[in-house]
Amino acid sequence: MVILTAATGFLAAIGRAAIALCAATGALVIFAAQAVAHAFAPPLYPGELARQLIRIGYFSLPVVGLTALFTGGALALQIYAGGSRFNAEAVVPSIVAIGVVRELGPVLCGLMVAGRVGASIAAELGSMRVTEQIDALVTLSTNPMKFLVAPRVVAGTLALPLLTAVSDIIGVMGGYLVGTGRLGISPGNYIQNTINYLTTGDIVSSLVKGAVFGFIIAVVGCHQGYNSRRGAQGVAQATRNAVVAASILILAANYLLTEVFFST
């Protein structure tokens, strides 16, 4: 009897969690759809969009650049150490290029920006919510979905492909620096082999991934902040959820996009 109650209790807990997950997913999807709709219907706020582009894109450059540089370098070392010593001239540049452009460039860029920008969007909107600033916008005839959410989502979707491009280039450059400086690959060969192995498809997939990740980061950050509750603690929770949810969604989306682009 006791075991039975415990078992049903356990099942009920799983059921509750599953239902909560479905509800949260549904709410996020609806929120995303609204954000997109508001991004295209006037009034638009170009000033806000510009501010968010600078904040999301420009100020993320150092973080994204450094991450890519070190990762590209480490990748070159690993490939070399992993038995490619004898054929390094060809193998190191090609694997670095493909690894960085197809996967590491966009994913690391997405994760770093999720930590940096997703968190700050959630914290900002969350504290605007709890101090009634979002309500105040409504009383000033300004739709907060248009004024706060749409510019951030558009800026995220536009800025991340550019950041990803930067991440790809600097990642490859990290490999180049290590390859030519430490592993004795000739600069000319390194560049030639990189160009030979990369296809337009690789680059397009990289940028598309970036756009999707940017959209995810901004939507999740806005959604969490916009709906945050209960004072400072609610804002802290929104911030944490924004980073965790965006990171997981980025990794999941990355898998799906890789299936779409490369599975044939």
């Binding site: 009034p43 101090t131 009634e132 600033q133 105040a136 409504v138 009383t139 000033l140 005839s141």
Partner: protein, 252 residues
């Protein structure tokens, strides 16, 4: 009898098991200054937010000029509306004058920046703030100053309907008097319809044409301001005189 500017008919609102509004009936006539009194936590702020749809009421009806409030009417209503929030609710990413001139800086009523700034400074002067505060950020102001900036923002476009949620809490008696006069002036001179929440009986007497007392989720009493001292309503009597004994429990 004219159509009421704002009417509440049996408005109810609960947060979970907590029934905050239990059937509020109230009419605000055009050009009238109505003051809402009631104990802390009785739902006065929630009531104002229900009217403009910031909080969705569970039951009852809210009518604007006799018509039920829907999305389009709400938009039209808010275009000529201002609200001072209890906590100020200033945008902390904007300077003081940009807060006050918010409506002038974007959208349909957009003005050149210099003109918008001049208007903002003018409104700031009306709430007793000098031009030097205009370029500060809200976080650099005291609580009472933030409240006054919120007030300046609420009245910036000379709205037809204004809600003031505790306009004088946190102000010294002299400044409170300035604000009371200002609110009265706005109602009398510009013919605005005002709803004010306050705990301060001096403010009540200065601002109100009519007083409504909210307690236990319903309007317990409403009447002209000069009747608050004469009424035999036990709630109003206890509240106005600040008595510990009466129908309003002190543990809430």
């Amino acid at each position: 009898m004219t159509t009421a500017r704002i009417s509440l008919r049996g408005v109810t609102k609960a947060f979970g098991a907590k029934r905050v509004l239990r059937g509020v009936d109230l009419d605000i006539q055009p050009g009238e200054s109505c003051v809402i009194i009631g104990g802390s936590g009785t739902g006065k702020s929630v009531m104002l937010k229900c009217i403009i749809g910031l909080v969705r009421h569970d039951g009852g009806q809210i009518l604007i000029d006799g018509q039920p409030m829907d999305a389009r009417r709400r938009e039209a209503f808010l275009r000529h509306f201002g609200m001072l929030f209890q906590g100020g609710a200033l945008f902390d990413s904007l300077t003081v004058w940009e807060n006050v001139a918010f409506r002038f800086l974007r959208g349909a009523e957009r003005l050149p920046r210099a003109r918008a700034r001049a208007l903002a400074v003018e409104k700031l002067a009306r709430v007793g703030l000098d031009a030097a505060t205009a370029d500060l950020y809200p976080a650099e102001l005291s609580g009472g100053m933030q409240k006054r900036v919120g007030l300046a923002r609420a009245i910036a476009t000379d709205p037809q309907v204004i809600f003031f949620d505790e306009p004088t809490t946190g102000l010294d008696p002299i400044m409170a008097d300035v604000i009371n006069r200002l609110i009265r002036e706005i109602v009398v001179e510009m013919g605005a319809t005002a709803m004010t929440i306050t705990h301060d009986m001096t403010s009540v007497r200065r601002i109100a044409d009519r007083v409504a007392m909210l307690h236990d989720g319903v309007i317990q009493w409403t009447g002209p301001v000069d009747e608050i001292d004469r009424t035999d309503n036990p709630y109003v009597h206890q509240f106005v005189n600040g008595l510990p004994e009466g129908p309003i429990a002190t543990l809430r």
